[in-house]
């Protein structure tokens, strides 16, 4: 069930109705959300197929088959059980050592699950290859473990709860049910944002309210997310990026460069579009969430970029990885090491392929160089000035685009071919259609426009009477359908 497809909108509408019907009572409303979240996730498993075949009488359903089909949910359940036991343990003891042990159990079990399902094959195959090179061949067969959709995000959310309880920033007063709902809350389940307990879990107790203006803003946010995804990201992907990355040698150097820029734009509009819908959908249930992006491609240095890009992940890595390592309040070499570690492992978080680690590593090196430069100059520049901003932006954007090639290419070998093709310096942009140019242009304008323009549009939508909003939303849907009738793609971050 993709956020930008009709099934999700119907599902969202039905859940919205059921939720607000019982919103005055805590447990009924939380039950509605948990059931909806379970159904939302189950839709991505073979469970609906089993259900439909069972209804049609074509299948005798065995409990083991159902359990196997729904095993990702069982994995999430196991995460919740272990973590909640750790939370309860920490709530009942003041002994520091025991609390530390409990939080360690939670972190290790969560990361262990992630390592097994996401990186098991990568580590295993790499070990086998290294042993073979060392003259100790071992028989390697892929483990074949399927990565449960959204596990990377669920694990990070899960760790944040137990660590926050350990640190005392979240009170361990929530029930197992609330803990489970926090992990599985459907607007955030598959690709985040990676919200903290304070943003969601701590709010389950309070009776939610939905101000009409907030509701309208949430709808506007969802509509904006749809536009970003369907009118920009998918148009660029289908019109240019996918073809060029599939066969870079078929295209000129200029087209390859445009494809790299196109992918950079596509990734932002795809993921920020998704985040808009997630934030809008969450707000419809009375849970406003913090922003996940802040015009990252306007950044003038890479630190700024990472403070604007996938903010919930960056801040998670900062709070739960970088700072525990010592952050930058350590010796300079150690601070650089910490930075590299965060970037390398943060890169690898994106997928079970060493190229993500290279990608993170390159960003890490670039960040280290930037920091060293600041140390030499005596500190971070307080202002850039017009020329400095242009230079900074150009360098930052170039690094981001150049490294996106590694991020997007199916393998390092393809990435190498891509870079080689660019370095051929062949001219010609015949394969960049007018539609793609238009989408890129629109993307640039939307990205460059100040927030107040977006806020103004949002206020105008809020100001409209309900029938006019309905007309506007249907008109928008019709327009998007014309644009997106060629192909509908899943969100890029679903694969992570």
């Amino acid at each position: 069930m993709l956020f930008h497809q009709l099934p999700f909108l119907v599902f969202l509408g039905l859940t919205f109705g059921a939720y607000w019907t019982v919103a005055r009572w805590k447990w009924p409303r939380l039950i509605v959300l948990l059931v909806a979240s379970l159904a939302f996730y189950a839709a991505a498993t073979p469970l609906p197929l089993i259900l439909s075949q069972w209804i049609e009488g074509r299948l005798q359903v065995r409990l083991t088959e159902v359990a196997w089909a729904g095993r990702p949910l069982l994995i999430f359940l196991a995460i919740a059980v272990v973590d909640h036991l750790c939370v309860l343990g920490m709530a009942r003891t003041g002994r520091k050592g025991l609390r530390k042990l409990l939080v360690a159990v939670s972190v290790v079990s969560n990361l262990g699950l992630l390592s097994l399902f996401k990186y098991g094959d990568l580590f295993y195959s790499t070990t086998a290859a290294l042993l073979e090179k060392a003259g100790v061949p071992i028989h390697y067969e892929p483990l074949g473990l399927l990565l449960p959709l959204g596990l990377s995000f669920v694990v990070f959310r899960a760790i944040s709860v137990t660590v926050d309880v350990y640190r005392g920033t979240t009170k361990p007063t929530f029930t197992f049910f609330e803990h489970l709902l926090y992990l599985l809350f459907f607007p955030l389940l598959v690709s985040g944002p990676i919200v903290r307990a304070r943003d969601l879990l701590d709010r389950f107790d309070a009776r939610p309210t939905l101000d009409p203006d907030d509701g309208a803003r949430a709808l506007f946010r969802i509509a904006a997310g749809m536009v970003k995804k369907l009118a920009i990201a998918d148009v660029i992907a289908g019109g240019l990026v996918d073809q060029v990355f599939a066969n870079p040698t078929h295209y000129t150097s200029a087209e390859c460069v445009m494809a790299a820029i196109g992918y950079t734009v596509q990734l932002y509009f795809d993921f920020s579009g998704y985040s808009d819908i997630a934030i809008g959908a969450s707000a419809l249930f009375g849970f406003p969430l913090p922003e996940n992006f802040n015009k990252p491609y306007l950044a003038r240095n890479l630190f700024e970029f990472w403070n604007r890009w996938h903010i919930s992940l960056s801040s998670w890595l900062r709070d739960y990885f970088y700072i525990p390592l010592g952050g930058n309040r350590v010796s300079r070499p150690r601070a650089l090491f910490n930075l590299m570690m965060v970037m390398v492992w943060g890169g690898l978080w994106h997928g079970a392929d060493w190229r993500f680690m290279y990608w993170g590593g390159i960003h890490g090196i670039a960040l280290c160089i930037t920091r060293i430069g600041w140390w030499i100059k005596g500190g971070r520049p307080k202002s850039y000035g017009f020329f400095g901003s242009i230079v900074g932006w150009t360098i930052t954007f170039t690094v981001v685009v150049a490294t996106r090639i590694i991020f997007r290419a199916p393998s390092m070998a393809v990435a190498q071919t891509f870079y080689r093709t660019i370095l051929d310096f062949t001219p010609g942009l015949a394969n960049v259609s007018a539609m793609v140019w238009a989408a890129l242009g629109a993307a640039a304008v939307l990205h460059a426009l100040p927030h107040r323009v977006f806020d103004g549009a949002s206020r105008f939508f809020v100001w409209l009477p309900a029938p006019a909003r309905a007309v506007a939303l249907v008109a928008l849907a019709l327009g998007l359908r014309q644009l997106a009738q060629v192909e509908v793609r899943p969100y890029i971050y679903f694969q992570f």
């Binding site: 949430a218 599939a246 909003r469 019709l478 060629v486």
Partner: protein, 948 residues
């Protein structure tokens, strides 16, 4: 009101969207067009319960990712599971079928899939090239010459290969579709080698390696699909260039010649050619002009790999064609991801023509158009561009190979997903198909409408729902590609059969399968199988197969046993002869050892009349020697009641035997109870008595009386008190995994025939009693009493006789003697098991190599087949022709030429795969007879029960 503004907005939005969707507006103005096309509830259900198919992968239409289509771990689709269900009747085959029985099973499965998919058989359209002189018809059609060359192959009149070159896009590059067609053509006309292979995968990083060598990574790859100037490229569309030493290695797969296509160049280096490490040739590619060149190199017999190594400069290679040099079909599949007619026109005409002319194909098949439709959808091409490019390409083709036939295929349907989650057919595919058809018929090429064959518009979505299409809605999965290959093969075969006098390999006098009379001859066995299926713990069914090397290899019988026991349950391994260790027994989890001094004698070495075990062999051990037979080695044999029997010879001169089972000595009171003669002994069934539940149970002695827990049942037989006599010691055991050891305690030698193990109740036992080189006459010559006595203990319900292959080699075969030997043997079998039915398997196809190297039919193969058919009829036995199942006369040559080969190099025996294929065909036939008659027998039984 304001409090509920958000809810009202949502409700109004939904109402407006639904209302507009039902309004009489163009689809573009309807938010959910499917609402008005389908029942609203259905649409709503679809919206809430999402599509069964997963979200699409982010694949480019025809990129390298496309080649990886078809994950290896994909499970069987629902359609496949339905198609695997053999109990469903197979649709009638549309053409006379000439593939042999093993492939027939596959065809039946694919036909059911075709039906389930809504696909259909579509005939090839052939324009008339030369009208009849009287103007009333056509003298020569587009594919006449091609089919004539195939039929010449069929008749053995053509000694060169018939080459087919298939060009296409990623659908062909993956070789899934062409693999099926190639396999079928090779089955009919035999293989003349794998054909043209690339140095490496054109995309290097993706796709299958089935049509390429295993190359080092330093080859530079230039393709026609690259938009930059490509330089010298031929019809194969790819040039591989090594500027520093590089290597590529090909699997030779029975080829005897390698034809290397390379490019000369002023800076050309050296290309060393080796086979299995032996240097064959060095090609110097340096020449003043860049030009296409070829070098044909003979490969040493038995070569497994061919390696090309470059050195001393730049070396550019197109690829290597591997061929046997003999008659057969070579099917080149040359696919380029992203290819279009326009792409092939980019190749320099001279090089294109020269390379294609060198291949000298009899048919060029073109499967293009999918990428053209994609580009039209993007506005990058018009239908006029497509038509113009296709026509220009065919002109070039005719200029290059004027004698070659051409066949153009329509592109297949592709799909796109809409916002509503619907799958819509991608526009323009039908237009492109129509344009290609026009060009084909206008330019004298045959046309096959693949688009319609797959089910027309919307096929991609339907195939996806059935699990046969990739999520990209463009490429079929391997299983779907197999269906497409099947459809094309049938289209070709139907076109061939539509000629006035097609060659049909099937022998009219030797039809495949079991005839109605044969089916009647198996009625009792089928009824027993019915009972066994209804009650898995009911009466056991035993099938005893006697024969020569086909039986002795155990490969055939192991497969048939495995197939039948899947339906009727495993009754145990049955009889195993005493003898030396044999790897052939491992598949059936049986191990055999001999310790000490043993001599194994078989009936071929001795005069007639001597006693042998059921396989025509006996093991004679000196004092102190022992032999063991382990049943169910490494298996959990369960704990159901079973009987382990030891077959040996007893007499005054024979040594005393000591028997242990699983290391524990078991009592032998057979000696004390000896004296029963063979004629009066021997329950052909274990004695039964009613248990508490009223069911009959085998009678067993009081095991508690013996501290070791083993107690032999009453001895079955003995022949005379003083003369050597067969003794069969029977021990009740639990389960079917046991080791029996027989030791000679002296003073004389001890003769052991074998041992058997089977459950007391339920299951099917299939004995393999084969002696290499045996004939029916030889088996008939064993000592009658010993032979019958042992056979009686086997309690056969059905005898299967698989002789005739050895008799086929006898140029002066006496058919009457053959009939007499079978009659005599069958009489003995029937006396051992009155009421047992019989089935004769005719010999496999047997060929011989003449001194001049040509291959001819074994002198009496056809006579033996016919004679055995008549003998079966006369004796009231069923008859199944192994040769017909293989595909008729000379089918051995085709089986031998396949990859992997099904026929052995000796042209007499089959390979492991071959025996497996033949056994599947036989097992399928038996199961089909059983299934077909089940309803009838059930009805008859019911009527009998109810009375008049």
């Amino acid at each position: 009101m304001k409090r509920h503004a958000t809810g009202i907005t949502l409700a109004l939005t939904a109402a407006l969207a639904v209302g507009l969707s039902f309004a009489p507006l163009p689809d573009a103005w309807r938010p959910i067009p499917s609402l008005s096309r389908e029942a609203p509830l259905r649409t709503l259900a679809k919206a809430v319960l999402p599509d069964r198919s997963r979200a699409p992968d982010t694949l480019a239409p025809d990129g390298p990712g496309a080649l990886a289509a078809g994950p290896s771990n994909e499970g069987p689709s629902a359609l496949e599971l339905e198609a695997e269900d053999d109990s469903r009747p197979a649709p009638p085959l549309p053409v006379a079928f000439t593939l042999g029985a093993p492939e027939a099973r596959n065809v039946r499965r694919l036909e059911r899939m075709v039906e389930g998919l809504g696909a259909k058989h579509v005939d090839i359209e052939e324009p008339c090239l030369v009208p009849a002189t009287d103007g009333s018809g056509c003298q020569r059609r587009a594919l006449d010459d091609f089919f004539a060359s195939l039929e010449a192959l069929q008749r053995g009149e053509r000694n060169e290969p018939v080459r087919i070159v298939q060009l296409g896009d990623s659908q062909i590059a993956s070789d899934y579709i062409t693999d099926t067609v190639r396999h079928r053509l090779e089955l009919r006309y035999r293989s003349a080698g794998p054909g043209f292979l690339f140095v490496d995968r054109p995309t290097r990083f993706a796709g299958r390696k089935v049509r390429t060598g295993e190359a080092t990574e330093g080859w530079e790859i230039v393709k026609l699909t690259d938009k930059k100037r490509s330089g010298l490229l031929g019809f194969s569309g790819v040039r591989f260039t090594a500027t520093d030493p590089q290597r590529t290695t090909f699997k030779v797969r029975q080829a005897r010649f390698a034809d290397i296509s390379f490019v000369t160049r002023p800076d050309g280096g050296k290309l060393d050619v080796t086979a299995d490490g032996t240097h064959l040739s060095s090609l110097l590619t340096r020449f003043s002009d860049a030009a296409l060149a070829h070098s044909r190199i003979a490969l040493p017999p038995g070569a497994r790999t061919l390696t090309l190594d470059t050195s001393g400069g730049a070396v550019s290679v197109f690829g290597v064609a591997l061929e046997t040099g003999g008659p057969g079909v070579v099917y080149d599949s040359v696919g380029l991801p992203g290819a279009m007619y326009e792409v092939y026109l980019r190749a320099p005409e001279a090089t294109f023509n020269a390379q294609l002319r060198h291949r000298d194909p009899k048919l060029v098949v073109l499967m293009l158009g999918g990428n053209e439709a994609y580009e039209m959808n993007r506005g990058w091409q018009t239908i006029d561009d497509v038509r113009r490019n296709a026509a220009a390409f065919i002109d070039r083709l005719h200029a290059a190979v004027p004698k070659s036939a051409c066949l153009m295929m329509a592109p297949m349907d592709a799909g796109t997903r809409t916002l509503g989650g619907d799958i819509e057919p991608r526009p323009h595919t039908d237009e492109v198909a129509q344009a290609i058809r026009e060009v084909a018929l206008q330019k004298g090429c045959a046309y096959w409408d693949l688009y319609t064959a797959l089910g027309g518009a919307g096929a991609a979505g339907r195939w996806l729902a059935k699990g046969l299409f990739n999520q990209d809605l463009i490429h079929p999965l391997p299983k779907g590609a197999e269906v497409i290959g099947h459809l094309f093969d049938f289209a070709l075969e139907r076109a061939r059969m539509s000629r006035p006098h097609p060659v049909i390999t099937e022998d009219d006098d030797d039809p495949p399968g079991l005839s109605a009379a044969s089916r009647r001859a198996l009625a009792q066995t089928m009824a027993k199988l019915d009972a066994l299926e209804a009650d898995p713990r009911g009466e056991r069914v035993t099938i005893v197969q006697l024969g020569a090397s086909h039986t002795a290899s155990h490969l055939f019988t192991d497969e048939v046993r495995a197939q039948l026991t899947k339906t009727f349950g495993d009754g145990g391994r049955g009889y195993i002869a005493a003898g030396r260790p044999s790897p052939r027994l491992q598949r059936a989890h049986v191990e055999r050892t001999l310790q000490g001094s043993w001599e194994v004698v078989d009936a071929r070495e001795r005069p007639p009349g001597e006693p042998f075990g059921l396989t025509g062999a006996r093991a004679v051990g000196q004092p102190g020697a022992s032999l063991t037979i382990t049943f169910g080695a490494g298996e959990d044999g369960g704990d159901e009641p079973a009987t382990l029997s030891v077959y040996l010879l007893e007499g005054p001169e024979e040594g005393r035997h000591r028997i242990t089972i699983d290391g524990r000595r078991v009592p032998d009171f057979g000696r004390e109870t000896a004296g029963l003669t063979g004629e009066r002994s021997g329950r052909s069934r274990p004695e039964r008595r009613a248990g508490a539940d009223g069911r009959l149970r085998p009678m067993r002695p009081d095991a508690g009386a013996r501290p070791d827990g083993f107690a032999p049942l009453a001895p079955v037989s003995a022949t005379a008190a003083t003369a050597p006599r067969v003794r069969i010691l029977r021990y009740p055991v639990k389960g079917t995994s046991h080791t029996v050891e027989v030791t000679n305690e002296g003073p004389g030698p001890l003769t052991v025939f074998g041992a058997s193990l089977e459950k007391d109740e339920g299951g099917l036992v299939y004995d393999a009693l084969g002696l290499p080189g045996a004939t029916a006459a030889l088996v008939d010559g064993y000592d009658r009493a010993a032979f019958v006595e042992q056979l009686r203990a086997r309690r056969a319900d059905l005898y299967v006789l698989f002789f005739g292959t050895n008799e086929s080699a006898d140029p002066s075969l006496d058919v009457d003697a053959l009939a007499a030997a079978h009659h005599s043997l069958l009489t003995k079998l029937r006396s051992a098991s009155p009421g047992a039915e019989c089935l004769l398997i005719g010999p496999t196809d047997r060929l011989e190599r003449r001194p001049d190297g040509t291959i001819a039919e074994a002198p009496s193969n056809t006579r033996v087949v016919k004679a055995l058919r008549q003998i079966a009829q006369r004796e009231g036995c069923a008859f199944w022709s192994a040769r017909a199942a293989m595909g008729g006369p000379r089918s051995m040559a085709r089986w031998q030429s396949l990859s992997p080969p099904l026929g052995h190099d000796d042209l007499v025996h089959l390979t492991e795969d071959g025996y497996e294929a033949l056994a599947h065909a036989f097992g399928d036939e038996l199961l089909a007879v059983w299934r077909d008659g089940a309803a009838e027998r059930s009805g008859a039984a019911q009527a009998k029960k109810e009375g008049p």
